[in-house]
């Protein structure tokens, strides 16, 4: 795609830019004239959903974003928290759903690149990645291709840059067949005093461009990320960006060197909507104007127009603000890393965004109008979807050979071992990984820090499809339980809202209810939201994705000795269930797989009780009571036991019966919140069961050598289970 320098602005062109008539009229009003094609391009990307958050901004404002540990809430490239001893933990999650659907390898690879730049743009060295992936069933070759492409794209990029993947998720549901979800979370560590900002200061200071050259790739990616994928997504290849992790690695090292030199006033990566978005956002944060000259922008393709240079989403590019007198020092560092370092603009006090190219003024607009003055879309009246589930007791299991069904589920890639995925990721590089992927939360040590850092991502489309408000609360609580299970205190949250169209009443309902749930859960769990990302329009003419908020959470294990593992360790240990009794099987994905439709009732959570159970668990873990802990979530007690049995270095079995105060099916399948399962030396049982916090603790079995026995209905050699679980890779 090439865009000529001058184009007549017709209604068709306006529409092709994704601008509504109302938005276009607003542009005419602001400018008092017809925009140039370049200006039209600028408004269209800056007012796209991706950059303007026009459908969510007001709702996101209700989230708790301040509090004890928060150093930087939403609004910068990434959020950050104070984890003590002078360290800041910087983290954020980003989606690359649409690009991955079109070109899985490059889409996922550049997704990793983008989120890493957000982290080091804050001044932090990236120390960990987590990937949260959702696809349609791999029985469809198209989905298989997507899955393999995405995993190898993440592997290619992350391995080369040298950031370990320490965790993530992999979920399958038909609702993701047309819109896969590829969310990547990155974590960085900085000394508190080294944290950077994207807020430009000082009129007369200059904008310096470094990193890769600019090409035509990815033009209109941001606009493209905000519309429903058309039937022929394959034809959209022209919008896909390509990644160069070798350059990213050099930029990373050069950036950290620049920051250490103390010469940067502000720093920003060029992500969605490229040069125009990164430059104007920095100026806007500082309340300044900006005068750019594109003549010196390093180009990798010939004869780029101003339009193309401003909107290009070529990867691995950075923009910083420096004092003009520091140019030599800064350029010397960049040249040592074989990188262009060119001045492309100057901060002004005019409040205008002016762009010159080859002597022609291509853009001259009020800067705030593109950053903050997107016209609010016509409100859509949210409407709850009609009841979309059957009651769990209606699911017919009578005709089922239970052990066959169970083995089939264990070898379903959704539940089976994910080793085939994380084995493709270098999860060890940097030599900090204490708990690698596949064993609950990922845990790393930080050199010079006395504790350990734990992180997890969690999403559950099924729960949220049943009730987005309660479902999102449950997902958030579940993320916190993941951390608590390893002995970490949950600290703060980043989130990725993956939804369908907010222009439809049901879509709007799901989105806003989920945000409300997220806020309530984070307040109750005392885990403020430091940032996130919104991905809307994940729907096709055939289907929309389940509302799928993905929660990324970080926590701290204060003392490495308190780190608790998630797998059976000693035959003879008692297995205990902690938390309220299960009462139903609503929300079960296992039963949904069988019924081929959602199974209710929706999960509900008592957040106060959740917090009480988590606090109790942390106390007991600190006291060294448990040999292994995991929480109960997707797949219920059944799949929790499978994981505990098989994921450790040595597989161990168990003999478990249903709790006396629970019914048979809920006991094993319920995904109700606030529940943990743990193993301990039998000697600790009396203290645990008779605890002063009034938390229900029930012994349900013991760890065995090599048989897997569940009550009356299942008894099989561990080796059989292991084969089913381990050999389901793609």
């Amino acid at each position: 795609m090439t865009i000529p320098a001058t184009v007549e602005i017709t209604p068709a062109i306006v529409e092709a830019h994704g601008l509504t008539p109302k938005e276009y009229n607003r542009i005419l009003e602001v400018l008092g004239r017809v925009p140039t094609i370049t200006e039209l391009g600028v408004y269209s990307v800056m007012w796209s959903e991706h950059c303007s958050y026009k459908h969510t901004r007001k709702h996101l404002a209700t989230l708790p974003t301040k509090g004890g540990c928060v150093l930087q809430g939403p609004g910068e490239n990434a959020g950050s928290i104070d984890i003590g001893e002078g360290f800041a933990c910087v983290f954020k999650i980003e989606s690359h759903n649409h690009p991955s659907a079109v070109e899985p390898f490059e889409g996922a690879a550049t997704g990793v690149g983008g989120i890493l730049r957000d982290i080091f743009a804050m001044g932090a060295r990236p120390v960990a990645l987590l990937d949260s992936l959702r696809f349609g069933p791999p029985s469809d070759p198209q989905n298989r291709k997507l899955i393999q492409g995405v995993v190898s794209g993440i592997s290619f990029y992350g391995n080369c840059v040298g950031v370990p993947v320490i965790g993530g998720e992999f979920a399958i549901d038909p609702c993701y067949s047309d819109n896969c979800l590829v969310n990547v979370m990155a974590i960085g560590i900085a000394k508190k005093e080294d944290l950077m900002t994207a807020k430009a200061e000082g009129a007369g200071n200059v904008l310096l461009y470094y990193g890769n050259k600019t090409g035509r790739d990815g033009i209109h990616g941001a606009t493209f990320a905000s519309v429903e994928l058309s039937e022929d997504a394959e034809e959209d290849r022209g919008c896909v960006q390509v990644g160069d992790p070798f350059m990213e690695k050099k930029i990373l090292e050069a950036t950290l060197e620049l920051i250490a030199s103390g010469k940067l006033v502000a720093l920003q990566d060029m992500g969605a909507a490229g040069l125009v978005c990164s430059s104007t956002e920095m100026a806007s944060k500082g309340g300044l104007g900006l005068h750019m000259n594109l003549n010196s922008v390093p180009q990798r393709a010939e004869n780029l127009t101003a339009y193309e240079m401003l909107l290009s989403e070529s990867q691995e590019r950075m923009l910083c603000v420096i004092r003009p007198s520091d140019y030599e020092t800064v350029a010397a560092i960049l040249h040592r890393w074989d990188m262009d370092a060119v001045i492309v603009g100057e901060l002004t006090t005019t409040g205008r965004f002016v762009v010159e190219h080859k002597g022609v003024v291509e853009v001259d607009v009020p800067l705030p109008s593109i950053c903050d003055e997107v016209p609010w879309p016509e409100p859509v009246e949210p409407k709850a979807p009609a009841k979309n589930w059957i009651h769990w007791s209606e699911v017919d299991l009578t005709s089922t050979q239970l052990d066959e069904w169970f083995l089939k589920m264990v070898s379903n890639p959704h539940y089976a071992s994910k080793r085939w995925i994380y084995e493709q990721y270098d999860h060890q590089v940097q030599t900090n990984t204490v708990v690698p992927p596949g064993l609950g939360s990922g845990v790393i040590r930080l050199r010079g820090y006395s504790g350990l850092l734990a992180a997890t991502t969690e999403g559950n489309g099924v729960w949220c499809a049943l009730d987005p408000y309660e479902g999102t609360k449950c997902v958030t609580a579940e993320a916190a339980r993941n951390l608590v299970a390893c002995g970490a205190k949950p600290m703060a949250v980043t989130n990725n809202l993956n939804f369908g169209s907010p222009r439809k009443p049901e879509g709007a309902f799901q989105l806003y209810e989920a945000i409300r749930g997220l806020g309530d859960a984070c307040r109750a769990l005392n885990t403020p939201v430091t940032g996130g990302n919104v991905s809307l329009y994940n729907e096709s003419p055939r289907m929309a994705v389940f509302p799928t908020p993905v929660i990324g959470m970080v926590g701290v294990v204060e003392n490495p000795a308190q780190l608790t593992r998630s797998f059976f360790r000693n035959p003879g240990d008692a297995i205990v269930l902690i938390g309220p009794a299960a009462t139903h099987c609503g929300g079960s994905r296992l039963l949904k797989e069988r019924a081929k439709q959602l199974v209710g009732p929706p999960l509900k959570i008592d957040l106060e009780r959740e917090k009480a159970v988590q606090d109790f668990m942390l106390e007991q873990i600190k006291a060294g009571r448990f040999n292994a802990v995991t929480d109960i979530g997707d797949g219920g007690l059944l799949m929790a036991l499978v994981d505990m049995a098989l994921s450790g270095p040595r597989a161990l079995g168990c003999h478990v019966v249903h709790a006396p105060d629970e019914d048979y099916l809920p006991a094993f399948l319920s995904e109700e919140p606030s529940r943990f399962i743990a193993t301990c030396a039998p000697a600790y049982l009396p203290q645990l069961m008779d605890n002063s916090a009034g938390i229900r603790v029930v012994q349900i079995g013991d760890v065995k050598e090599d048989e897997f026995i569940l009550d009356e209905f299942l008894r099989m050699p561990l080796s059989r289970l292991k084969v089913a679980w381990e050999n389901a890779g793609l």
């Binding site: 070109e103 050259k213 090409g215 035509r216 790739d217 290849r237 022209g238 896909v240 390509v242 160069d244 070798f246 350059m247 990798r300 393709a301 010939e302």
Partner: protein, 81 residues
Amino acid sequence: MRIHVLVHLRKDILDIQGQAIQEALVHAGHSVAKKIRVGKSFYLDVDGNDVDAVRPQVEELCKKVLSNPLLEDYSWEVVPA
């Protein structure tokens, strides 16, 4: 019948790899190449001897699998086996 397919980056796209290789070579004293472009070469063994019969399939293969049309051009010809 043997078909030889060449896939190279489109002319207007900077060949990052080629450039990096060229610079490293000059550095190392191999200065004969002033510019290097890197691409892929494929030999396909195909049944029969009728080019026209397989042309659509070879085209499709080149376009959809062996090259990425966003970035790359391809060309192919029949060569002696």
